[in-house]
C-alpha cells in the first residue's frame, strides 16, 4: 500500500524532472540537436534502413511506409527512435550547459547578428535534411511558401479581423506577374520568344520579379478594397470570394498567358536558400509591422472602430495598408510557388487552395506570428504524411479542424507576441 503510494508520487516527480531538464535547453541547444540528428541520418540513415528491412530511407518520418505496409511499423518506429528521437534528446540534454553558456555569449551580440547565427544553423539543418531526397526538398519549399501565405492572410483575417477569401487570387496575380517577368526577360520559350536579357543575370533579378508580382497582387487588392471597405463583416467575405473567381476566370480567358492550359518552363530559381530567405524576410517584416504602433492600430480597428477613430487612428488608411501588405506577400508567395512548380495554371488557385490557406491560419492561431508558422508547417506536414490515405485525407484534416474550432476557437497559438530576443535567450536557472 505504502509502496504503491510512493511510486505514484515518484512517477510524476520524475516526469517533472525530465520536463524541467528539457525546459533548460535554449533555442541554440535545440538547433544543435536537430543538426546532429540530421547529420546522423546523412551518415547512417541508408545502412540503418537496410538493416531494418525498410524499402528505402523513410522520407517523412516513415508515415508513407506505415500506411502502405503496416507490417513495417515496428521498423519505422525503431528508425525514428534511433535516428531522430534519441539523438535529439541526448544531444540537447547533454550539451545544455554548454549551449546555455554559448547562448548567453550570443545574447551579448546585437540581436540581428545572433539571430543570423541561429538562422544559419537552422538553414544548415534544413539543407542536410532536404539533401537526402528531392521529395523532401519539394515539401520543404512548399511548406516555407505556406508560411508566407499564412502570415499574410493572418494580417487580414487575424490582426485586422476581416474575413477575406481572396488570397488564392492574390497568389495567382503574383504567380503570373513574376512568371511573365522571368519568361519575357530571361528565357527562350514558345510563349514570349527570345530572352531580352542574358540568362546569367536572371537569378539576381529574380527578387525584382517577385516584388513586381507582389505589387501586381497589391494592385488587385486595391480593386477589392475600394468598394468593400465601405462595408464590414460578411460583405467583404463575399466580395473577396467573388474577386478570387474573377481572377481565375480572367486568367482562363486571356490567351497570351496560356489560358486554361497555364504557363510552364519557368526557370528553376526558387531554390532552397532563396525560398528560405524570403520566408525569413517575410516573418521579420510582418512581425515588425504587427508589433509597431501602426500594427496595434490594426488591432484597435478590429476590436472597436469608433474608439480607434476617436483615438486619432486613421482607420481607413490602416485597413488599406494591412490589406495591401497582406496581398503583397501573397503575391510574393505566388511567384515563389510558380518557380518551384515551374508550371502554373488557373486551376491551381481555386477554392481548394483557399480551403488550405484558411485551414492553416485558423488551425495555427489568429493574431499570432508563431501561430501562423506553426499552422502552416503542421497542416502542410500532416497533409503530406496522410497522402497515402488519398481521398480520406480530406476527411481527417477537416475533422482535426473541427476539433480545434470547438476547443480553441481562435486557433492553437493565438494572440501571442513573437519576441525573437525572448526565444533566443539562455534558459538556465541560476543556482
Amino acid at each position: 500500500m505504502e509502496a504503491t503510494e510512493l511510486q505514484a508520487q515518484a512517477l510524476p516527480s520524475r516526469t517533472r524532472r525530465i520536463r524541467a531538464a528539457f525546459a533548460q535547453v535554449p533555442a541554440l541547444g535545440w538547433l544543435a540537436g536537430i543538426l546532429c540528428t540530421v547529420l546522423i541520418e546523412h551518415l547512417w540513415g541508408d545502412p540503418l534502413s537496410y538493416q531494418l528491412y525498410l524499402p528505402k530511407l523513410p522520407v517523412l518520418f516513415g508515415c508513407l511506409i506505415m500506411f502502405k505496409q503496416p507490417v513495417l511499423i515496428p521498423s519505422v518506429l525503431a528508425y525514428v527512435a534511433l535516428i531522430y528521437a534519441i539523438p535529439i534528446a541526448a544531444v540537447t540534454l547533454l550539451t545544455r550547459r554548454l549551449a546555455n553558456a554559448v547562448a548567453s555569449q550570443l545574447s551579448r551580440l546585437p540581436l540581428w547578428l545572433s539571430g543570423l547565427i541561429h538562422l544559419g544553423l537552422l538553414y544548415l539543418a534544413l539543407y542536410y535534411w532536404a539533401d537526402l531526397s528531392d521529395y523532401r526538398e519539394l515539401v520543404l519549399k512548399l511548406t516555407m511558401i505556406a508560411v508566407i501565405l499564412t502570415l499574410s492572410i493572418n494580417l487580414i483575417n487575424g490582426y485586422m479581423g476581416e474575413f477575406s477569401c481572396s488570397h488564392p487570387g492574390f497568389m495567382a496575380l503574383g504567380a503570373y506577374g513574376a512568371s511573365i517577368v522571368t519568361l519575357l526577360l530571361f528565357t527562350n520559350d514558345r510563349m514570349f520568344g527570345e530572352a531580352l536579357l542574358p540568362e546569367a543575370l536572371g537569378p539576381w533579378c529574380f527578387p525584382l520579379a517577385l516584388i513586381i508580382g507582389g505589387f501586381v497582387a497589391s494592385a488587385g487588392a486595391l480593386i477589392v478594397a475600394i468598394p468593400s471597405f465601405r462595408t464590414r463583416g460578411d460583405y467583404l467575405a463575399i466580395i473577396s470570394l467573388a474577386f478570387m473567381f474573377i481572377v481565375k476566370s480572367l486568367i482562363e480567358n486571356v490567351e497570351w498567358v496560356g489560358g486554361p492550359r497555364g504557363m510552364s518552363s519557368q526557370p528553376n530559381w526558387s531554390t532552397l536558400p532563396v525560398v528560405f530567405s524570403w520566408m525569413v524576410i517575410c516573418i521579420w517584416v510582418i512581425n515588425n509591422f504587427v508589433r509597431s504602433i501602426y500594427g496595434k492600430a490594426l488591432n484597435a480597428v478590429r476590436d472597436n472602430e469608433i474608439a480607434a477613430d476617436a483615438m486619432t487612428v486613421d482607420t481607413r488608411k490602416t485597413k488599406m495598408v494591412a490589406f495591401l501588405l497582406g496581398a503583397f506577400w501573397a503575391g510574393v508567395a505566388g511567384g515563389l510557388f510558380a518557380h518551384v512548380m515551374r508550371f502554373v495554371n488557373p486551376g491551381t488557385f481555386g477554392i481548394q487552395r483557399l480551403a488550405e490557406i484558411l485551414a492553416m491560419v485558423y488551425f495555427g492561431g489568429l493574431n499570432s506570428v508563431v501561430g501562423s508558422i506553426f499552422g502552416a508547417v503542421s497542416i502542410n506536414l500532416i497533409s503530406e504524411m496522410l497522402r497515402p490515405l488519398e481521398i480520406y485525407k480530406w476527411i481527417v484534416i477537416p475533422l482535426i479542424l473541427i476539433l480545434v474550432m470547438i476547443y480553441r476557437p481562435t486557433g492553437l497559438i493565438s494572440f501571442r507576441e513573437f519576441d525573437v530576443r525572448k526565444i533566443l535567450q539562455p534558459k538556465q536557472q541560476k543556482d
Binding site: V285, F289, I293, Y294, A308, A310, M311, V313
Partner: protein, 256 residues
C-alpha cells in the same frame, strides 16, 4: 477667444429633432458640465462635436478652425480627446497597448519604419513607451499594464479609458459619464484624478454626468439639456435653484 466654440448647432435624425440650437463657448482651463435627463441628447452633442455625426446646421470651431466635415480621427488629432459612456475598449489588447496606441497621430516614422524597424522607429517607440508608463502611473493602472482590459475592475477600466484619451494630447477633454457604475470609493478617486488632469495638463474639460453631487463639486459652469434644448445655464448654485431644472428632474407639482 474661446478654445471651443459651438454656435447654433442643430441636428435631426430623420424627422426627429435631437439637438436644437446648442451653443457653447469653452474657455481654456474651464471645467464645464452638461446635465439632463435620459434621452435628452447629451451624448449626441458629444458625437456631433467629435465628428461621429455631422450636424444638420451650425458651426463648431476649435481654436478658430472649423471642425465640420472633418473625420473623427482628424478632430481627435487636432486636440479633442474623449471617453465613451459605455466604455469602448479594445478587448484583445492589454492596458499598455491601449495607452501606446493612442499616440498614433504623434508618430512620424511611417510605413517604412514600421516594416523595417529603423532606428527612428525604435527611438520614437521608446519615447512613447516612457510616456505610456507615466500616464499609466498617473491614472493608477500601471499595476495592470499587461492585463487584458476585460479582466480589470470596472473603475480601472474607466481610468484606462481616460489615460488613453490623455495620450492623444488633447486640448479639450470630453468625458461621457465618467463615474457611471462606480463605487463610492472609486468616485472619490475619480474626482481627484479629474482635478489632477485639469491641473497638470491644463486641459479644458467638458463632461456629461448624472450624479449632481459630482457635477456640483467639479464644474464651474453647468448647462442643462432637456429634449435637445438648453433650458438653463449657470454656476452650480444657480442651476441647483433653477425651477426649470427642478421641474425637468423631479416633475411639476400638480395642483388639484
Amino acid at each position: 477667444m474661446p478654445l471651443l466654440r459651438v454656435a447654433d448647432m442643430t441636428h435631426y435624425f430623420g424627422g426627429l429633432r435631437a439637438v436644437h440650437q446648442f451653443n457653447l463657448s469653452l474657455e481654456p482651463g474651464e471645467i464645464r458640465g452638461l446635465i439632463g435627463p435620459n434621452g435628452a441628447g447629451k451624448t449626441t452633442i458629444f458625437n456631433l462635436i467629435t465628428g461621429i455625426h455631422i450636424p444638420t446646421k451650425g458651426t463648431v470651431e476649435l481654436e478658430g478652425r472649423s471642425l465640420i466635415g472633418h473625420k473623427p480621427h482628424e478632430i481627435a488629432a487636432g486636440g479633442l480627446g474623449r471617453t465613451f459612456q459605455n466604455l469602448l475598449l479594445w478587448r484583445h489588447m492589454t492596458v499598455m497597448e491601449h495607452v501606446k496606441m493612442a499616440h498614433y497621430a504623434q508618430l512620424s516614422y511611417g510605413l517604412f519604419g514600421a516594416l523595417f524597424g529603423t532606428p527612428r522607429r525604435n527611438a520614437e517607440e521608446r519615447q512613447v513607451a516612457e510616456n505610456t508608463l507615466r500616464l499609466m502611473e498617473m491614472f493608477d493602472v500601471a499595476k495592470y499594464a499587461d492585463w487584458l482590459v476585460g479582466n480589470l475592475p470596472y473603475g480601472a477600466q474607466r481610468r484606462v479609458e481616460m489615460a488613453r484619451a490623455m495620450a492623444t494630447k488633447p486640448k479639450v477633454l470630453f468625458l461621457d459619464e465618467p463615474t457611471a457604475g462606480m463605487t463610492p470609493e472609486e468616485l472619490v478617486q475619480m474626482i481627484a484624478i479629474i482635478r489632477q488632469v485639469h491641473r497638470d495638463f491644463g486641459v479644458a474639460i467638458f463632461l456629461i454626468e448624472h450624479r449632481l453631487k459630482f457635477v456640483m463639486e467639479l464644474c464651474q459652469r453647468i448647462q442643462t439639456l432637456v429634449f435637445g434644448e438648453i433650458i438653463a445655464e449657470g454656476t452650480p448654485e444657480e442651476i441647483q435653484n433653477n425651477p426649470k431644472v427642478i421641474e425637468a428632474y423631479l416633475g411639476k407639482e400638480e395642483i388639484h
